[in-house]
Amino acid sequence: LQPKSDIIASARPTTRRRTAQARQSLWLLNDEDDDDSTTYHTDDDEPEPIDADEIFDLIRFISDPEHRSMTLEQLAVVSAPQVTVAPSHILVEFTPTVPHCGMSTLIGLSIRVRLLRALPTRFKVDIRVKPGSHQSEHAVNKQLNDKERVAAALENPALVDVLETCLENVGRRGL
């Protein structure tokens, strides 16, 4: 699990929602003049359903268990296109940096915990490593999606401590 190189780390996956919105609207509203209130002071009651970008935003700032100063986004472990949202199902795929990465389960678990806390219960969440990106892909997937094993893991105070440190800066948002 090595940070690949600075060049990759600085390549920001773009989120597409904002640009798409801007393109659609006819009127250009100046960001500078808008104060905070206008962002959500919209009179329309149009619902904004949870989308892949939003889920990505929830997990992008999880720190890597080995390189605490790096986020999963910077290491390209997670990205917006790797998140799929259906009405009651969410699939998050992540890419371990090397196929023998021993921290994969921990990374998966931190994503699991984050989503457990941050998503409504109506979603069933699947977390998988990207097919072909890990030696013991099957084992990791099984472990991450087994309710009882996840629950058991969360009973372990030492593990929870590690998870909490990974989730420390998770409140940052990029959108």
Partner: protein
């Protein structure tokens, strides 16, 4: 004599300061002599009992310490020195004797032989190990005082003094004493002849390096590790003699220490080496470099690397300090340079980064080194760049090259060797490489950075070359490829940098190209591509065109397009895209203009002739001449709003004299229909059109144009005369119009803005209006009127006038506001009156300094402290329920408007009221209350109140706050987004200000409640819900 004896006896029996003071004043008045005291002390000084002797000497020492210095003469000093010296031999009296010695040191008549005596006595008799910290402190203070006052005497004592002192200072551990010891050691090292003793001095100072001291919590003495470090550093860097001994020690610490030690050592090295000098440094040069290299190429952390680079700079500077520019350098710098260049042969490898950092650091060392580095590194990099085998590495090569160029620029800009631009011989190759780099995506960014470095180096590129750069960068911006989109930001920044110094190239080459991205007619509704194109063009233009010449071009070109939009050859079927385009054009102008105003550019006022008439021209044309799309077209209120902002910005910048002329034509247009002189521009206004926006019968479009009028009038200087016969009549006219005839809220607001600005600036000539007319207005329009809507408008108008008076601290302002209380039981408008009280206190963007409004400081505080008690009182009146609620509304409205400092101390009283306010049916008010609670909570967060024993106000009400916020946080119970967001934010802040044991029972409920909010239909709410829930998950004891 007897008095002395009495004092002594009393003091020995029970030591108090009073006796000492009395004796000292006796001596000062000449009633007593020192000799009397010694005599009186006689029996104690010679007593067999150690304790009594101790007291006797102590008493004398205290008296000597307090005695006026001029009362001592040669004789008495001599006696006292001898006396205290003899008492040093006695273990019982050594402590007070030292105090006595210390008291003697500042006496002016102290002669050299006394000084020597004192030193000798201390050296012979004092064993530092036997003394406690305070006593050792006294010893150090004696020497500190002597070194300060009798340095020459001590110097003449030579090595004898040095050995004596060094023996005493050896082994000291207390930070307070060390602070003095270091100061003394620095003086010794600098001023004394330590040629034979420097090793010993070295031993007693360098043994403290590095300082690892950590002050105990609540340290009362306030000696910090930083103080000690600084004191020790100044001591270590005191003498060049330390050099040979110190450098190996430093290297040891750098290699083996913790990161903090490393940084400390590197900093100390950087301070010491210049003192140790060129010879010592160059002798250890290679060893230094091999240690520093490790820290640079395999850094423990970025800060250490930074320090190591600085230390390297110091090494090089010290070694090559005296070399002049022309000689070829050799030795260490050359070797390091070659070593780094060797590493740079593989620019894509990770070691290349630190290598280039070293070379960049060399740039700001000495001219000769800098020149050598450039003349070797640059050809090497250019060679790599052109090598066909290295094609894939062009990006990294350019990135290295650009940091080198930037470092070279920084060194020429700040250093003293300005005339030497060492880059000059290579500029063609470097420029060529960067320009080539622009063509490939992978090397684009470093190429732009590099060009930025080149154009910002003074006197490097000539005009033609800059033109060449601009041309090439234009090609980047015009590139359609997706890849380039991110880079075009950087490219525009580069052009902007160029535009500041040489705008002509930008005007000739870049602007035409950007203007070509702006079509004459708006792209159709479904042409998102076309819209994107003009937006990109406009955003580039808006960033480039702050420079005066460029802005002028921008104004001309955009005005032409605006005219075309307002008077199209073919009327478009769908007018909205044109309106949106016009809005975008004007917004661009407004954005640039606002930045220019911010920068204080002097060319803004001239646009009253160049831009403002055109704006009036097109907008007037829009309402007078066109019939198409009246609702959606170019007279759309959003466009009018931007136009008004432009007019406002320009008017603000005008002098009073210019405003006078402008305002005359403005009034002529709006009140006499004489619009043509004001609205000069490309479009011909229809000659038969009737322009009378204030006429009740005027079409709505015309009335909308009052926004432009208002934007100009509110920005007038107070000394500008309003061109009407009587300002009061004008105000009455405006108020009536706003209540009866204005058709939209915006129009009404505009009228009130004008009224407020005039009232504020012309108070002195408005006596009748303020005293008579307005109270008639109140009776008629507010108190007696039957139309509730009209009454509400009148209340708003009243609030504006009150605020205009309030901000200038007009004495009767509060009387105007107080009238609102009369309406608190009114069935229809009581809440409007209550909200108006808040409105009066709310900061707005009309009555501002920029608009030349008379604003006195602290007016808001004064208002708040007047209104708050009255309103709080009103909420408590149990006999009148309606009044209570109205007061609550007023409180909710007011609290959001006033400065936090005013109500923070009232919070215990306010909190229950605010909690009640959270159940008001007015959702805007609720949101306001939550905002207030949030900002109050922020105070607690900042002050870390949670750890305080005293429970905060929030903690007291924590449980009810939690449940009320939960109720306000779900979409099922709370339709307003702002309230939900606020409530969730508050829930997120509670764990930060309330101890866990208070809210522990709520945790499960809150987590469950927040789970519902996670499924909110609005994204902004979900975000807050997630954050709040995360905080609560972590909330534990």
């Amino acid at each position: 004599m007897e008095a002395a004896e009495r004092y002594v006896r009393t003091w020995v029996a029970s030591p108090r300061d009073k006796e000492i003071e009395d004796i000292v004043s006796g001596i000062a008045d000449g009633e007593l002599k020192l000799v009397h005291i010694v005599k009186a002390l006689g029996e104690y000084l010679t007593s067999e009992e150690g304790d009594l002797r101790n007291k006797g000497v102590e008493f004398l020492a205290l008296v000597v310490g307090k005695c006026p210095l001029e009362k001592f003469n040669l004789q008495s000093v001599k006696v006292l020195v001898a006396f205290f010296a003899s008492k040093l031999e006695d273990t019982e009296t050594i402590i007070p004797a030292l105090k006595g010695m210390l008291a003697l040191t500042p006496i002016p008549v102290l002669v050299p032989e006394n000084v020597v005596d004192i030193c000798e006595a201390v050296f012979t008799n004092v064993k530092m190990q036997a003394l406690v910290q305070v006593q050792r402190h006294t010893v150090f203070s004696i020497f500190d005082s002597l070194v300060a006052r009798h340095r020459d005497v001590l110097k003449s004592m030579g090595n004898h003094f040095l050995s004596g002192y060094i023996a005493l200072a050896d082994g000291e551990k207390d930070p307070r004493n060390l602070m003095i010891a270091f100061a003394i050691a620095r003086v010794l090292a600098i001023e004394f002849d330590i040629s034979t003793k420097f090793e010993e001095l070295f031993n007693i100072t360098f043994c403290y390096f590095p300082i690892t001291f950590r002050p105990p919590p609540n340290d009362p003495y306030g000696v910090t590790a930083e103080d000690l470090k600084a004191a020790l550093q100044s001591c270590l860097s005191a003498s060049p003699l330390f050099g040979n001994l110190a450098i190996p020690l430093f290297l040891d610490k750098v290699n083996a220490g913790s990161p903090t030690t490393k940084r400390d050592t590197l900093q100390t090295l950087a301070i010491c080496l210049p003192v140790y000098g060129s010879r010592v440094t160059s002798n250890s040069g290679r060893k230094l470099w091999s240690s520093l290299k490790l820290e640079i190429f395999q850094p423990t952390d970025p800060e250490t690397q930074e320090e190591a680079l600085e230390a390297t700079q110091v090494v090089i500077k010290t070694i090559y300090a005296d070399q002049n520019t022309d000689t070829e350098i050799d030795g260490l710098a050359k070797d390091i340079c070659e070593e780094c260049i060797q590493i740079l042969k593989e620019p894509e490898k990770s070691q290349a980064k630190p290598a280039i950092k070293v070379l960049c650091a060399f740039m700001s060392t000495t001219p000769s080194v800098s020149r050598y580095t450039i003349s070797h590194a640059i050809p090497h990099l250019i060679k790599l760049f052109v090598d066909p085998d290295e094609l894939p590495n062009r990006g990294p090569v350019l990135s290295i090259l650009s940091s080198l160029v930037a470092a070279a620029r920084d060194s020429t800009v700040k250093a003293d060797f300005k005339e030497n631009i060492f880059l000059l011989p290579f500029k063609d190759e470097v420029l060529g490489a960067f320009v080539t780099g622009l063509k490939v995506q992978s090397s684009l960014r470093p190429a732009i950075e590099g060009l930025n470095g080149l154009v910002t180096t003074p006197d490097l590129l000539d005009d033609e070359e800059i033109g060449f750069v601009v041309q090439r960068v234009n090609e980047v911006i015009s590139g359609k490829q997706e890849d380039f989109i991110g880079a075009s930001d950087a490219a525009i920044d580069l052009l902007k940098t160029i535009s500041i110094k040489t705008p002509s190239h930008i005007a000739q080459m870049t602007l035409p190209f950007l203007f070509s991205a702006l079509p004459d007619q708006a792209p159709a509704r479904d042409d998102a591509e076309g819209r994107e194109k003009y937006r990109m063009g406009l955003s580039a233009l808006s960033r480039l065109c702050t420079q005066p010449n460029l802005f002028e071009t921008l104004v001309v070109r955009l005005s032409v397009r605006l005219s075309l939009l307002y008077a199209p050859a073919i009327v478009p079927e769908d007018p909205e895209p044109s309106a949106a385009y016009a809005h975008a054009l004007q917004s661009t102008l407004a954005g640039v203009l606002a930045r220019k105003v911010e920068n204080g550019d002097v060319d803004v006022p001239k646009y009253v002739d160049r831009l403002v008439p055109r704006l009036f021209n097109i907008t007037a044309y829009g309402v007078l001449a066109t019939t198409w799309g009246a609702g959606l077209g170019v007279s759309d209120p959003r466009i009018i709003d931007v136009s008004a902002r432009l007019v406002n910005l320009v008017t603000q910048s005008l002098s009073a004299q210019k405003q006078e002329t402008f305002v005359n034509s403005l009034f002529a247009a709006y009140f006499k229909g004489d619009i043509t002189p004001l609205a000069v521009g490309d479009l011909n206004l229809p000659t038969d059109a009737h322009f009378a926006p204030f006429d009740p019968a005027a079409p709505e479009g015309q009335a909308n144009l009052i926004a432009l009028f208002s934007a100009a009038v509110i920005a007038l200087h107070p000394e500008v005369k309003i061109p009407v016969d009587d300002e009061g009549t004008l105000l009455v006219q405006l108020l009536n119009w706003s209540i009866r005839h204005a058709k939209t809220n915006v129009q009404r607001e505009n009228a009130w803005h004008i009224a407020a600005a005039i009232v504020n600036k012309h108070v002195s000539s408005l006596n009748t209006f303020l005293n008579t007319t307005l109270s008639a207005f109140w009776d008629e329009e507010i108190a007696k009127s039957l139309d509730p809507d009209a009454r509400r408008r009148a209340i708003s108008a009243w609030a504006w006038v009150s605020r205009a008076l309030l901000v200038r601290n007009y004495p009767q302002a509060l009387q105007f506001v107080n009238r609102f209380f009369e309406l608190f039981e009114d069935a229809e408008v009581s809440w409007d009156a209550a909200r108006a009280i808040g409105q009066v206190g709310t900061v707005d963007n009309v009555l501002t300094k920029r608009n030349h409004v008379v604003i006195k400081i602290l007016h808001a505080q004064k208002y708040a402290s007047n209104m708050l008690p009255k309103i709080i009182e009103g909420t408590k009146d149990p006999t009148k329920k309606i009044r209570q609620t109205t007061h609550l509304v007023a409180l909710a409205a007011l609290i959001k408007a006033i400065p936090k400092a005013v109500y923070v101390h009232e919070l215990p009283t306010l909190m229950p009221l605010l909690l009640r306010g959270l159940s008001l049916p007015d959702l805007t008010l609720r949101a306001g209350v939550i905002d207030t609670l949030l900002s109050a909570a922020q105070v607690d967060v900042d002050s870390g109140l949670k750890t305080d024993k005293e429970a905060s106000v929030a903690a007291e009400h924590a449980v009810s706050l939690t449940s009320v916020m939960l109720q306000n946080s779900t979409v099922a119970e709370m339709p307003d987004v702002r309230v939900r967001v606020g409530a969730l934010k508050y829930l997120a802040v509670l764990p930060k200000i309330v101890r866990y044991d208070v809210l522990h029972p709520q945790k499960a409920t809150v987590l469950r409640g927040l789970a519902k909010a996670l499924d909110d239909p609005k994204r902004a709410v979900r975000k807050e819900a997630v954050d709040a829930r995360t905080t609560w998950f972590r909330y534990s004891g």
